[in-house]
Symmetry: C2
Subunit: 343 residues, 2 copies
């Protein structure tokens, strides 16, 4: 088998801190990965875009894949964005505004087809096709991190709603008089259970000498507090660290329970760095919250599972997205021929 | 035109206090209505079912419609129920349990096709096809009453979720330590803003001489407090009555805002007796809550409208449902013929 000449697809995950390109075969077998750091917004749209091009080119060079065999590129990006046109409407963290990402990437790679969608949608889609949510039909994916994103699949298809940005579960308001959120509203889930807010509480514990295990690894700079370190400090016996994380995991669970009451999904997949590092804690708290707060008749149909694909989820979902677009194109090209044949 | 021999459809609304049958032409022109009171659960399934039959027969007799011209019957019932089989799983208020309602009705009316679905779904569906939600695509209908039901349409089709019972917005939990709800959980929306809970607060105002206008019409029996009387007392100057209702309308608005954050509908239709009696108050409070608590990028796509069809909504939605089943049947019957013709 002449592997070198096999056709392939690239899935790209544009994250807040890093870019990851994943090359897969037409059957979605991973062929290789390439990671680089995301540049901050200082560099502006152009410079950040250069990193995107570098990452896509990198996965081909590193894995000896020929650009001539590249069938298409799927891209998961923070939003809001327009999945029809591939235009990024506004991503403050990266600095893109009305940026035609799909067309720009396509122009750099010989006009190859490019599809863009929201990263959380594609993470959920990846888990649905290749990971923990396989066999589901109405799927809700939730990925707690700095932001808390939600992806919704209805009948196995990405549901985007009227705005294109459905699934903003991080901004479900729990208490109209609650703490201020980054979005300007009060009492959003993210204002309690977002990574930075949790890290802030943990940093305060460190300064108060109430988290000795965590204090060995980090100081009071919340940027330094990583999921793995939080997990280690809990394993090491930092009870108050555990209490803080459990309380926020339960709050995430309350929102999951309310999504069950509204959407009645058959599958709920939980992922992201915090959940990966403390899977059992998060799954326990969310399952408990669903038992307590979701109607039993709806909860009994909702299967709660931890994500399986880790860092690959978004890129795998992106690869699937572009593969489907390519298939639709083929079908679209076939139709006119059949129409002509009938004449 | 020989109107008497025109084919027709019946939509039946099985409410908590009354049954209403609506006969419509094949083009959904209303031909007549027939209403009777729902019997309590004492009578058991059989007796309640007799009222259903009486109501369907009544609308035909009263309007001189011949059973020979009856094409089908659509039924909106409280749930949970199975819309595929037409079996009512459990409706405590009526006393049906695993009751094959569709088959039973069909057997009483010469085997005519019968379709059954949840009343809130069909109310939303009615408003979508014939009322305030026309032109929408992703529609959320909410009908505050004794229970607070929600209906979801995705791409113009009723969305039922994995359980068949999606849209239980009355049991969205606002505060895990909140008041006890009829469902056994704490802090559900219904435990604050359900009609009986609001009536309880108003009855207390009456007893404390804090609602003089309302006191002229009702006493402290919460069964006697009707939506129209609440509206009259507010118009008459009962400030505390207005405060109570506004606070709960705002709480309903908070849940609507969270549905916008999750589902991003293009149309939100609000209906039911309370909203009909105090349309402006409810629309104002819900619109304000959506502005305050939903992300602007999603809120701007969400059109908030009051229901238009009033008591007809469920029956009209039910008529549309059975009409679609009849169309699908026709298409289904046509296919085998075409298949045979090809041989």
């Amino acid at each position: 088998m002449a592997k070198a000449n096999k056709k392939f697809i690239i899935g790209l995950d544009i994250g807040g801190t890093k870019l990851m390109a994943l090359a897969v075969s037409e059957k979605f077998k991973p062929l290789g990965r390439f990671r680089i750091k995301t540049r901050g917004k200082k560099g502006g749209g152009g410079s950040q875009f250069d990193r995107v091009v570098e990452c896509i080119a990198g996965v081909m060079t590193e894995n000896k894949l020929s650009p001539a065999d590249l069938l298409g590129i799927g891209v998961g990006s923070p939003g809001p964005l327009n999945p029809e046109t591939g235009v990024i409407i506004d991503t403050p963290n990266i600095g893109w505004k009305n940026f035609p990402l799909a067309d720009k990437i396509s122009a750099k790679f010989k006009g190859v087809p490019v599809a863009v969608d929201n990263d959380v949608n594609l993470g959920t889609y990846g888990e649905y096709h290749f990971g923990a949510a396989r066999g589901g039909r109405h799927v809700f994916g939730m990925f707690p991190g700095t932001g808390i994103g939600g992806g919704i699949l209805i009948d196995g298809r990405i549901y985007r709603g009227a705005s294109g940005a459905a699934g903003e579960v991080g901004h479900v308001v729990l208490d109209p008089a609650g703490p201020l959120c980054g979005c300007g509203h009060r009492g959003c889930l993210e204002a309690y259970a977002g990574r930075l807010v949790i890290a802030g509480q943990l940093a305060a514990l460190v300064l108060r000498d109430q988290a000795p295990e965590l204090a060995e690894e980090v100081g009071s700079d919340i940027r330094d507090i990583r999921s793995g370190q939080i997990a280690d400090s809990i394993d090491g016996g930092d009870r108050l660290v555990e209490q803080v994380v459990r309380r926020e995991a339960a709050r995430i669970g309350l929102v999951v329970a309310n999504v069950v009451n509204i959407l009645s999904p058959d599958t709920i997949v939980l992922g992201g760095g915090l959940v990966e590092a403390m899977t059992r804690l998060f799954m326990d708290e969310v399952a408990r919250a669903v038992r307590r707060h979701a109607l039993p008749f709806l909860a009994k149909f909702a299967n709660l599972v931890p994500a399986k694909l880790g860092d690959d989820a978004v890129a795998m979902g992106a690869a699937k997205l572009i593969a489907e677009r390519l298939d639709a194109r083929k079908a679209g090209n076939a139709d006119p021929k059949r129409a002509r044949a009938k004449k």
